[in-house]
């Protein structure tokens, strides 16, 4: 008894491994994708009749590889080949079992890493890396990706075709990587997964502020990466960060799609299962004593997730973690985030002093002006606050961001009116 939903889920789960192995054999992305496509079609035909294979991934690799080799022979010799079904005999089953045993773990890891890594070509803008990864690694259709990015299907088709041409023109690294090369691939892939998550978490355009499927796909791939590299604390940190951030998804927007800030969120809506998994990973990562940016961001998210109420937040710990992050990875955005903790601990004046020097670097950053406006409001400097909020609105990426700032402006307006009438 084999249901289509099982086959579907199995093909999706096996995709990175199978496509990765086929890419190793054929060294050409298009050829590997065609072979994978064909193997899936044959699985849909074959598995319901003969039952599922012992190792679905090995079966797909074997069938995909044979298909592509046959294609080459067909083109070279123009000879007749046996019908499709002939290769799916019991003999094949034995052969694929044997093949399965020969698939060694290190190939398997590097195959998948390579597949992810080719999507991270440095010439490709971030959004294109993400789109291409969704197409190649996740196997989403162009239509699904277009919907996620809120662009037309033809525009996305063009974008992906161009990006793939670029990847093909570049040298895909086929040597088994040494440790430093593997580390640098892991880091590029981590960045891409982080971008993928962020694209879902804080959409860069359009009406939908949160796109859950992109977040879930990023989590699925980060878990895959962690299964392949179980001792990498930064991959633990990345997975933990994504899990804990995503745990808040249901609480981040209200029924009218308005943004609800962390301190105003209904913490009962946070997904405790995801948080628990994230905390377990943070704890595991910290044992390695090799701190990194993802671990620190995960630790910060963990502190927030452990506060039963916003007022219980351990801001001193958050300030401390941000300071370590600032030394590891100096960035005005990190300082901006630390300013929130500083405002809670030592008041808005000190926080404002911390962010004012960032104005030149963050002049195009929505959150800079949002925070500046909020701090100025607390300091009772409404005119300057209004200017900052106006600036923020002009930089808002989504309708929800703009609406949130308008809320602040309305409040300022009301305060102003009540003062005048008083």
């Amino acid at each position: 008894m084999i249901d289509m939903a099982w086959i579907d889920a199995t093909l999706t789960a096996a995709r990175p491994q199978v496509l990765g192995a086929l890419l190793r054999y054929f060294r050409v992305l298009d050829a590997a994708e065609d072979a994978f496509q064909e193997a899936c079609l044959r699985a849909l035909k074959n598995w319901p009749v003969k039952g599922p294979p012992r190792d679905p991934a090995a079966w797909l690799i074997f069938v995909g590889r044979n298909f592509a080799l046959d294609e080459v022979r067909r083109r070279n010799k123009q000879t007749e080949l046996p019908a499709d079904d002939a290769i799916l005999t019991d003999e094949t089953e034995d052969a694929q079992t044997e093949l399965a045993e020969r698939l060694d773990a290190s190939h398997y890891r590097d195959d998948i890493l390579r597949l992810l890594f080719v999507c991270c070509h440095p010439d490709l803008p971030a959004a294109q890396q993400v789109a291409v990864a969704l197409r190649i690694v996740s196997g989403l259709t162009v239509k699904e990706i277009a919907r996620a990015f809120l662009v037309s299907e033809s525009a996305m088709e063009q974008r992906i075709t161009r990006a793939k041409a670029r990847i093909t023109a570049a040298d895909v690294p086929f040597d088994t990587p040494g440790a430093p090369e593997r580390a640098s691939r892991l880091s590029a892939v981590s960045t891409m997964l982080y971008l993928l998550f962020n694209e879902g978490y804080s959409a860069s355009g359009g009406d939908a502020h949160v796109r859950v499927p992109l977040c879930e796909e990023a989590i699925r791939l980060s878990r895959l990466l962690l299964r392949l590299f179980p001792s990498e604390p930064e991959i633990m940190g990345l997975s933990a960060l994504l899990l804990i951030q995503h745990a808040r998804a249901a609480a981040r927007l209200d029924a009218e799609n308005n943004i609800i800030l962390l301190e105003d969120q209904n913490r009962g809506l946070w997904d405790r299962e995801l948080i628990a998994e994230g905390l377990a990973l943070v704890e595991k990562a910290l044992r390695h004593h090799r701190p990194g940016p993802y671990q620190l961001q995960a630790a910060i998210a963990a502190v927030h997730s452990q506060a039963a109420r916003a007022a219980d937040t351990d801001w001193a710990e958050i300030d401390r973690l941000y300071q370590i992050l600032e030394t590891l990875q100096p960035s005005p955005v990190v300082t901006l985030n630390r300013a929130v903790a500083v405002a809670k601990l030592r008041g808005p004046a000190e926080a404002l002093a911390l962010i004012e020097p960032l104005a030149a670097k963050l002049g195009g950053y929505f959150y800079f002006f949002g925070l500046k406006g909020a701090l100025l409001t607390q300091l009772n400097r409404p005119d300057e606050a209004r200017t900052a909020f106006d600036h923020a609105i002009s930089l808002a990426n989504t309708a929800a961001e703009a609406a949130h700032i308008r809320l602040h402006l309305d409040r300022l307006q009301k305060d102003n009116e009540s003062k005048r009438s008083a």
Binding site: D3, A5, W6, A9, T10, T12, A13, D55, A105, Y108, R220, R223, L224, L226, R227, P230, S231, M236, S239, A276, E277, A280, L281, K284, R287
Partner: protein, 122 residues
């Protein structure tokens, strides 16, 4: 006789289930558990976090701590039940009640050699 029913499933497949599908499955499984409990057959039940959260301790004079999971296996241990059944046949029947409510995976029945109910709860 106490038997453990160990639930193995491909983690990648299990993680692919939507929240709604997973919740629906848990509701069905809890109904089976309720029946077993009312018959006095059910001991502790646990659902485990993904293997990516696992830590391994290698036994020996100087135990070594290693991050899990182990090299890729097709199915992972995702949870377990302890049931009290008079015979293997009945343990198999009990496991089948649970198996019917799961979309895929394998249940392994292993007789329990030593059981200490402990005192923790959550």
């Amino acid at each position: 006789m106490l038997y453990s029913i160990l639930c193995y499933e491909s983690e990648a497949l299990a993680a692919g289930r939507t929240r709604q599908e997973d919740d629906a499955m848990m509701v069905r499984l809890r109904a089976v558990q309720q029946t077993l409990r009312s018959e006095g057959k059910l001991g502790p039940v646990a659902r485990l976090m993904p293997t990516t959260t696992a830590t391994h301790i290698r036994a020996g004079k100087n135990p070594m701590v290693v991050d899990g999971p182990f090299a890729e296996t097709k199915e992972q241990l995702l949870g377990f039940y302890i049931v009290d059944c008079p015979s293997l046949d009945e343990a198999i029947e009990t496991a089948k009640l649970l198996a019917r409510e799961k979309p895929h995976g394998t249940l392994e029945i292993r007789p329990v050699a030593l059981f200490n109910a402990g005192g923790v709860s959550q």
